[in-house]
C-alpha cells in the first residue's frame, strides 16, 4: 500500500467517488424536507442570532463583536466535531466499498471532511452577513478567512484520517471521543472568551492546553484585525506538522489491516 501522500494525491486527482458520495449523503438528508438545503443554515444562525444577543446582554459584551466571536467559534467547532464524529465510523460504514477493493482510505477521510466543510460553507453564507454588518470587524479582515480556513482544513485531514483508522481498530476509541466532544463544547471558548485569561494565569494555561482553542483563535483573532497570540500560531503549526506525521505513520503501519478490522 502506498504512502499517505501518494494516496492523497490519487484521491484528489480522482474526486468523483468521495465528492459524489458525500454530496449524496447531504442532499438525501434534506430531500424530503420543505425547506431543503435551507436547513443547513439553521444551526449556526440560531446560535448566532438567538444565543448571541442573549449572552451579549448577560455577559455585558458589545453585541457586534460578541456575535462574531460566537458565530465563528461555533461554525468552526461544529465543523471540527462533525468531522470527528463522522470519521469514527466512516471506515465501518463504507465497508462495502472497501471490501470491493477500494482501499484508498484517504477517500473516506476526504468524504468526512467534504461533508463537514459543506455544512460550514453553508453556514458561512449567514456568517458573512454578520461579519460585514459587525462594526468590530475592520473591512478587509474578512479576507483573512481565505488563509485561516485552509489551515483548519489541513488539520482536519489528519484528524479525520487518524480518527477513522483508530475508530476502525477499537470501538472504545470512538466512545472516548464522543465523550470528549461533548465536554469539549463546554471547555472550548465558544460562548466565553478564552483570551480574557492571561497567558500566565492558571486558568489561562488550562484554556491554552486545549488544541481547539488555538484552532479557533487563529481564525477569530484576524477577523478583529489582531494577530493571533504567538503561542496559538506555534501550537497550530506544531499540531499540523505532528498530526500529519502521525497520520503518515498510521497509514504506513496500519492501513493495510483496516479491511480485516472491519
Amino acid at each position: 500500500m502506498s504512502g499517505l501522500f501518494n494516496q492523497l494525491r490519487q484521491s484528489l486527482q480522482k474526486p468523483e467517488f468521495w465528492a459524489y458520495s458525500s454530496w449524496l449523503d447531504i442532499v438525501t438528508r434534506y430531500r424530503r424536507t420543505r425547506l431543503g438545503l435551507l436547513w443547513l443554515l439553521a444551526p449556526v444562525m440560531v446560535f448566532t442570532f438567538v444565543t448571541g444577543p442573549l449572552y451579549a446582554k448577560l455577559f455585558g459584551r458589545d453585541i457586534a463583536s460578541y456575535m462574531v466571536h460566537l458565530g465563528m467559534g461555533y461554525a468552526i467547532w461544529r465543523m471540527l466535531s462533525m468531522v470527528i464524529s463522522d470519521a469514527i465510523n466512516s471506515l465501518r460504514s463504507n465497508k462495502p466499498f472497501i471490501m470491493d477493493g477500494n482501499v484508498r482510505l484517504t477517500d473516506y477521510a476526504l468524504k468526512s471532511i467534504a461533508k463537514a466543510f459543506f455544512y460550514f460553507a453553508f453556514s458561512m453564507i449567514g456568517m458573512i452577513g454578520v461579519l460585514i454588518w459587525s462594526s468590530a470587524v475592520p473591512t478587509g479582515a474578512i479576507l483573512t478567512l481565505l488563509l485561516t480556513v485552509p489551515v483548519i482544513v489541513l488539520n482536519l485531514f489528519w484528524i479525520a484520517y487518524c480518527v477513522a483508522l483508530l475508530g476502525a481498530r477499537s470501538p472504545d476509541f470512538g466512545q472516548v471521543l464522543q465523550t470528549l466532544l461533548m465536554m469539549g463544547m463546554l471547555f472550548t471558548p465558544i460562548i466565553w472568551e478564552g483570551n480574557r485569561f492571561a497567558t500566565d494565569s492558571t486558568a489561562g494555561i488550562i484554556v491554552r492546553l486545549n488544541p481547539a482553542y488555538h484552532l479557533l483563535e487563529i481564525v477569530r483573532a484576524p477577523l478583529y484585525g489582531h494577530v493571533p497570540e504567538s503561542g496559538s500560531i506555534a501550537a497550530v503549526a506544531t499540531m499540523t506538522a505532528v498530526g500529519w506525521a502521525v497520520a503518515a505513520f498510521l497509514c504506513r503501519r496500519y492501513s493495510r489491516y483496516v479491511p480485516i478490522w472491519i
Binding site: 500500500m1 468523483e16 458520495s21 449524496l24 449523503d25 442532499v27 438525501t28 477493493g101 482501499v103
Partner: protein, 324 residues
C-alpha cells in the same frame, strides 16, 4: 496488449477476531443477560489462508471449490486487493473487477439513478463514462420506470438486479466472482447468466467460487479445492470436482442416512396404523356379532369370517415420499 496474470506465492492471511469467552451453562435467565453484557470479548487469531501457492495465466477459468469457511471468499477478497496478505506475495497484472457483494454499497435514501453514479464512481469509472452507463444499466436491470425512486423502495431482488447490472457493465481483464447469483425472477436470472457468460468469455482470467457443480463444470477449465485455508488439490476441473466429492462424501452418505430414517419412520407408522385398524375392525366385529346375536337370538347365524387387517393397513395412506 499486456498479458493478464495472477501469481500467488506463499500467501498467508492471519486475522484477529473477537470471541466471547466461553460460559458455563448459565444458572439463571438473569445470569445469562448479565453475562452477555459484561463478558469481555477476547482477541484471538485465525489463519484464514495458509501458505497458498498458485499462478494463473491468461485464458484460464479457475473454480474455487470448498466447503463454507474453507477460504474461498477470503482468497477472492485478497486477490481483489481488499485484504493485504500477512505473509507471502500476490502479483496481479491486468484490470480486475470483483463481483463479491452485489447489492451493497448503496445509499438507501438516494434514487436508483444516483446510486448508479455512486457505485460507478466507487469503481473508479470516470464521470464521462458513467453518464453513458446509466441508460444501459437501467435497461438491463429493467428499472427504467422507477429510476427516480428512492432505493429503499426497491425490493431486494430489484436491488440485486441493479447491483449486478452496474458491476457487469464494464469488461475487465480479470473477473473475480463469488457465488451470489440466483435471486430475482427466472427471466432475469437467465439474462444475468447470459451476461455473465458474455463477460466471462470476454475476460482474460476468471476466478469463480461456487457450490454449483454444473455451473463450474460448464464455465471453468481448472479447479482448486480449498480446505482450511489450504489448497489441497489443483488441476483439471472434473478431477477437482471428483477430488472434492472424495474428500467430502457427505452427499452420498447423507442420502443413505436419510433413506434409512425415512424407511424406519414408514415402518413405524405402518405398524401403528395396522394396530389401530386391527383394533377398530375387531371392535366393529364384536359389536356386529353382539347386535346380530341379540337380533337373531332364536335362529343361530353363521359366524362371519375373520377379517384380515393387513391389506387394509398396507394401503393405509402412509406417505411413501420418494427418498431423495
Amino acid at each position: 496488449m499486456t498479458h493478464a496474470s495472477i501469481k500467488v506465492k506463499n500467501l498467508s492471511l492471519v486475522v484477529p477476531y473477537y470471541a466471547q469467552p466461553e460460559e458455563a451453562p448459565s444458572s439463571s435467565w438473569f445470569a445469562t443477560l448479565f453475562g452477555a453484557a459484561t463478558a469481555v470479548p477476547r482477541r484471538r487469531f485465525a489463519t484464514l489462508l495458509d501458505n497458498v501457492n498458485f499462478s494463473i495465466s491468461e485464458g484460464e477459468r479457475v473454480a474455487l471449490i470448498g466447503r463454507n469457511g474453507a477460504g474461498k471468499s477470503t482468497l477472492l477478497r485478497t486477490m481483489a486487493g481488499a485484504f493485504q496478505p500477512s505473509g507471502g506475495r500476490i502479483e496481479i497484472t491486468g484490470s480486475r473487477q470483483a463481483l463479491l457483494s452485489v447489492g451493497l454499497g448503496f445509499n438507501k435514501e438516494a434514487t436508483v439513478q444516483e446510486n448508479i453514479y455512486l457505485r460507478a464512481s466507487a469503481m473508479n469509472i470516470p464521470s464521462s463514462e458513467i453518464r453513458e452507463m446509466v441508460e444501459p444499466v437501467l435497461e438491463f436491470s429493467e428499472l427504467g420506470e422507477i429510476a427516480n425512486r428512492r432505493l429503499l423502495t426497491l425490493s431486494s431482488g430489484q436491488k440485486m438486479r441493479l447491483g449486478f447490472a452496474i458491476s457487469t457493465m464494464i469488461q475487465h481483464d480479470i473477473m473475480l466472482l463469488d457465488e451470489w447469483l440466483g435471486t430475482g425472477d427466472a427471466q432475469f436470472v437467465r439474462r444475468a447468466q447470459e451476461r455473465l457468460m458474455d463477460r466471462v468469455n470476454g475476460s482474460k482470467i476468471v476466478v469463480l467460487a461456487s457450490h454449483k457443480h454444473s455451473l463450474l463444470k460448464s464455465l471453468c477449465t481448472r479447479g482448486m479445492v480449498l480446505d482450511g485455508g489450504r489448497i489441497v488439490f489443483d488441476g483439471d476441473i472434473s478431477d477437482a470436482l471428483a477430488e472434492y466429492g472424495r474428500l467430502y462424501p457427505v452427499h452420498e452418505r447423507a442420502k443413505a442416512r436419510r433413506r434409512k430414517v425415512v424407511k424406519a419412520i414408514e415402518q413405524k407408522v405402518k405398524k401403528k396404523l395396522a394396530a389401530k385398524i386391527r383394533k377398530q375392525v375387531v371392535a366393529e366385529f364384536n359389536e356386529q356379532t353382539t347386535a346380530s346375536a341379540v337380533r337373531s337370538a332364536k335362529s343361530k347365524s353363521k359366524p362371519k369370517p375373520k377379517p384380515k387387517p393387513e391389506p387394509a393397513a398396507a394401503e393405509g395412506s402412509v406417505n411413501k415420499g420418494e427418498s431423495r
